[in-house]
Symmetry: C5
Subunit: 256 residues, 5 copies
């Protein structure tokens, strides 16, 4: 579970709820037609934007922002160093027995190719292609949320314009202007809330997750290449440690 | 038919229509002069922006967002693996007989060059140039829709400014302010609807289609190059599978 | 003559004119002080932005959006294929006699270098440097129009703020508020019209022209390099055809 | 201490405070519910955007904008030239004794690798990987401040919309409109102040610091590589001086 | 003196001044507290954004937009061709005597290295590093003006929000609304004027100057490399001429 997403979302929602509680009757903010325009309109526009298959799998993408098993990059590096030691001591073929206990399927695929004696250039190419495809797929997930962040305020504005035009067009009783305008503004509020409470931040979290995953996979590629070429485990350790922040780097180097 | 585009468009339009139905008389939103300014103005500005030939072919581009035969990338890869097997077993010349049953003309052109014994570097260069030209042409199609998304709200604002200036300049009867202002706002509404209901999402869908087509063509180039260099069909299969998402990748690898 | 620019501009202007005619007295939109602020202010700010020599030659740049001899890229390719045939049949020196009837001075310079026996690397470098310089100069022309599109609405807003401040500061007669505010809004209208009717679309057209010219020059470079290295005319034809859209590509290939 | 950050922040805050003092009662700007919505909402949305660990360490990032020991790049270069002289005169191993007095741990790591006889390519790769990781980490720090600059005005707008809707919905007493609207606008003010007084400028300063640090580390990499390859100290000096502005460059060259 | 900057600035300022003269009493636009908020606030925020040393040297950067000795790129090229001729006729060492009369210190540094027999790769690297550092320093100057263009309107909005909140909060006398609102809007006007009359255009001019200087330095690098490798002066001339616009190119080629 990604506590950051859950806590952050709760904090932001509570902030708005308290703001509403201080302001007046929450029921004044509920308007079915406004929900219709903003929510359904945004869903429709976003569905047009992307291949249907990707929009339908959006919930699995969104869940990644909430449930994400944090991978400890230090542990990954120490595992790779361990494999490098074994490969150097007993030959690269000895890694075959360790494949079952490796945690990351990406390491498994890399080590298996190395054990099979695949050409180093090909190993690198296959692993980098997989990383690039992963980045492309992540980028598309992020784009769907960006699209929601863009169309929710747009449909909010369309709703408010509709409300204003109807109100101004049939302005018989001046005392009804206030409430009508309040209702017209509700769609803008909905649009701003969908964009800034949900779609925007979740899209950003997905991007941050992507950056982390790319860093880990980059380290794994460097590690597998070093193991394959029979590098000294100490060299592997310092090479891979350079990818980390000072604090984590010390954890890796002290574990030597 | 791209059901996503159709369903999404219907959903978004219905959302707005219901919003209108809740709000008041739909006829209050129809104003010929406003349609004139926003629609014709946007068409004019967009026509200035791009070569006339491209603007006149815009409907064929737009139709791609609605009618698009989804290519199954897994099938393409399995076909390429099949050709790799044949080329390895019976020589690359044997592929000549299969050319007629190949579905993608891009594969045909690549395989034909390989069969003709064209230099691998040249095959790669020709295929990549074609891919780049395709991306350029797609980008231009997208740009026209971006341009519409930009000029529709701009002409909406010009219309509203015109309306406000005329209204404010001859404000004799205070009771006419409301209706006049309502009419002035209609162009802004039209601009927002053209941009966010049609041009924006359709442009995005074209971009998503481009991304898919580029991915497929990238895989085909990698496949033809591998076939040409006589790679082991198993290696071809794993190489090409790296371009896919995990679910599709398993479908390719299980088909082995 | 670029009919697209002319037609588009007329259509957009007519749309606005009809919108005005429906709205009220066109004279209400004419205000000398507003023209002063927006037009002269924009000219001033744009003159600061760029080297004076470039601003003074802006009209020649703008005219390119109106008068532009469309080059038929298919014809260019067929010419290059013809030269390739001749060079292969009678030697590259035989091209010297054709130099006078070549239409594009860029082809002439390239062929002349090839005939002079210039080193292929140098030919490529000289031609690519010229293409890059051309792109830089075009980009600067586009930037001036972008600058106008940016400063016209900005000076429109400055004018409107000035008008509002004067109006609000001396609000003795409530009945004068409307007309004063109408005048204040006129500068915003002017800014929006300059940006969206003229500067924006013309800048875009210049960019589209640049894209076309770059494509043609890229094809010419590839063609001259192929002629220089004595490629088979059929290979030259298919190589250059890859740069084109399917319809044009067929025209080139059928002309074989 | 970074005096620029402190002075700049004080100047900007004083400007606003004096503006408030001229305007009216400062207490009119304090509204707990508004603080709630904007501050807590922004914190929540930002927490969703990034990994929790990074958000919790934000204060250490922010402090870098205030406390930052300015490194004198001229001194760094002169030190590197000194090491180059020693390495040339007494052999690269003689640098081992100087490691303790070197100020920058990045120089130490580089020189140590050179002394250990590490392969030059590997030294370069390790140092550049470390530089890239540093840039990634700095970029993330900047992104958090960008996120605050984006969400603070957004929650300001949400708060103002809430206020306006409640006010317009229950508009019984016209005389209460003014004060209610004033309160509604306070959240927009808070959002603008958080974004433009704090988050925006501090994010920019972090970026400027990153640029400086990257320049210094780039120079160190070039210096270590030159020392390792036994370059003439005069050549090292002129090579490294090219990275500097004319004034600093002269200081380096005159120190020869 | 850069007449373009001076004329453009005068024209833009006069446009606004005439606009003011037509509108009303100029004194209505002077408000010390507003000047305080916008000017001092922008200075403060910009000071936070950048290293103090760079902000303090901003006037020297700004002066470059006003006083800038235009370098004639044609003359530079003809000089380089002259040096190439001499180097070919009398040997590269003969250029040493010409160093004193060379106008551009960048040419001097390049020629000196060539005369000293420095390795061509190193000459290129040293000159390109210097060019990149120059571009970085110019980019920072531009960024400071961009920052002013961004914060001036932001502080303008903060000032207007403050004014509106105070006005709306103590709205006893309806007749005072107009003048109070006028004063509130003055900060927005100041922000728009600082951004669009000064900071924006001057930043753009600095960028244009940077583009010119980079072009000249790129030509010089190409020239020095050609001289160093003993290229034929005619070849040098045509190579360098490719960097120019057609008109200037002809001037270079005719001067042969």
């Amino acid at each position: 579970m990604d506590i950051g997403t859950v806590i952050g979302l709760c904090v932001a929602v509570i902030a708005v709820v308290i703001g509403i509680a201080f302001g007046g009757n929450p029921l004044a903010l509920v308007d079915p037609a406004s929900i219709m325009i903003v929510l359904v309109g945004t869903v429709g526009a976003t569905t047009v934007c992307f291949p249907l298959a990707k929009v339908l799998k959006l919930h699995t993408v969104a869940l990644k922002a909430f449930f994400f098993k944090q991978t400890d990059v230090v542990e990954i590096i120490l595992d790779l160093v361990k494999y490098a030691e074994l490969a150097r001591r007993e030959g690269i073929l000895s890694l075959e027995n360790l494949v079952d206990e490796m945690k990351d399927p990406f390491i498994v695929r890399g080590i298996k190719m190395a054990v099979d004696g695949t050409d180093p250039e090909l190993i690198k190419q296959v692993m980098e292609t997989e990383l690039e495809s992963l980045m492309d797929r992540h980028a598309q997930g992020k784009q769907i949320f960006d699209s929601i962040s863009k169309y929710a305020p747009a449909f909010g504005m369309i709703g408010t314009l509709l409300g204003l035009i109807f109100m101004l067009g049939s302005m018989s009783d001046p005392s009804s202007i206030g409430p009508s305008m309040a209702v017209a503004l509700i769609t803008t509020l909905y649009g701003a809330m969908i964009a800034n409470l949900f779609a925007g931040p979740i899209g950003e979290k997905l991007l941050a997750r992507d950056v982390e995953e790319v860093q880990i996979k980059t380290i794994i590629i460097a590690g597998v290449m070093a193991i394959q070429s029979g590098d000294n485990p100490r060299v592997v350790q310092s090479k891979l440690a350079t990818y980390l922040a000072p604090a984590e780097r010390d954890r890796v180097l002290e574990a030597a």
